[in-house]
Symmetry: C2
Subunit: 254 residues, 2 copies
């Protein structure tokens, strides 16, 4: 039985303030709950149909609480227009400085990404391309925002995200000669530029690109050239699309 | 003055049935209206603030009707949460078989893309990579859906989209030995596969990939390999992300 209080808790997780206070976040849909069950994240509550519970006996040991409910009750609790058979309340992991060896490893750094769909998609891209860490500026949208979680398609359980003062972080890496790549309209052609197996790829805000203070810390300016010959051609690519092309180019050359 | 009837017309353009009946579609936001003014599309009505009208005198000759309104009235008419200073009602161009020379040209073919954001993003990618034509299966989401239009960021004014029976179309191209590429989980590695300067790249449905009847017509099966070593790794990439990596790979080698 799904209580009114539980529904209230679920819906409160749409707000950052409430997520911060409770240390919880919401995941929705059969696949996402299955991903959570396979992950190492602590699961507070699974709310699902009796059928879903039967199909996932591992839930018993993984979730503190299991609430069976019919689809109508799940619909009432859900933030989605078309909810499925399961949703879950999951504990946010403790924010830890990630184990990151930038002398051998590639990571992404996000400078003020605002759109939840973009952040989720970028996590999914990082996951695909074997990039384990995504560093987020403090003004980047919260990774536990339900729209980020859903767009990540489970990548949220595998990628280390770390919110920090990006300017400070990049200033520190400067001393150790880690290459800091950044995408700019006037950077060097990514297809012909020499790329490295390690370092940081900075991606900027949807409207304004990489901020000035961060730009100054980028040591390798790159650009994805357009192939359009139309005089009114597109001004830019979506940031998640730029991220995917960068990751693809860095990885294919390894 | 923005009449109730005009507001009703604007909002009706959120429905395919009404768009089909009127032959109109809706665009929102300053940049989109500026793109429309620069395009060759016929503009029925621009609704904008007096300031926007002053800044765009070319509107007088481009739009049949200009309605000046304050931001509150624009808010009432808009389908967006945060509308800007202008929106416009635009005529859909006549659906024409595109001028397409597949012996020299590359085009995209979409097999049942359902999500408007994905279709809009794919148009924006095609625009960036100088791909002029996007062929859509008849069950692909309507290109004049307001969410497609917005996500295209103006690409809708430059890309020829053509809805047709994809199976028939691909069957016809078979006779002329046009290469038909398609993305599959088990295709050949796109990074090492030889690619061509011309032909068709087929992209499949968000959940199910390329349908069986279309699969049979693909002559070159390709795949974007994952670089993840995580045992629970991602199952797939978003279709717009896959499109961007394909376009990038095809174009960079030219």
């Amino acid at each position: 039985m799904l209580s009114k209080n539980k529904i209230k808790l679920i819906q409160s997780l749409n707000r950052k303030k409430d997520r911060d206070e409770t240390g919880l976040f919401l995941i929705e849909g059969n696949k996402m709950v299955e991903e959570a069950l396979r992950s190492e994240f602590k699961i507070e509550t699974v709310i699902c149909t009796p059928q879903f519970a039967d199909q996932h006996p591992e839930m018993q040991s993984r979730a503190k609480e299991i609430i069976e409910a019919d689809r109508d009750s799940i619909q009432k609790a859900s933030l989605l227009q078309n909810p499925q058979e399961a949703l879950a309340i999951v504990m946010q992991p403790e924010p830890n400085t990630p184990e990151l060896n930038l002398k051998t490893e590639l990571c992404l750094a996000l400078d003020f990404i605002q759109d939840p769909g973009n952040l989720g998609t970028i996590l999914r891209i990082a996951d695909w391309f074997g990039i384990n860490t995504v560093i987020c500026s403090e003004n980047t949208v919260d990774v536990f925002n339900p729209k980020v979680v859903q767009a990540s398609m489970g990548a949220i359980f595998r990628i280390n995200t770390w919110y920090t003062n990006l300017e400070k972080f990049l200033t520190q890496t400067k001393e150790s000669w880690i290459p800091v790549f950044g995408t700019f309209m006037d950077g060097n052609n990514i297809y012909t530029e020499s790329l490295t197996k390690n370092g940081i790829i900075v991606l900027g805000n949807e409207g304004n690109g990489i901020s000035e203070s961060i730009s100054r810390l980028v040591t390798r300016r790159i650009s994805i050239p357009t192939f359009s010959t139309n005089p009114n051609k597109a001004e830019s690519l979506n940031v998640a699309i730029a991220a995917s092309i960068c990751c693809s180019e860095f990885r294919r050359r390894e």
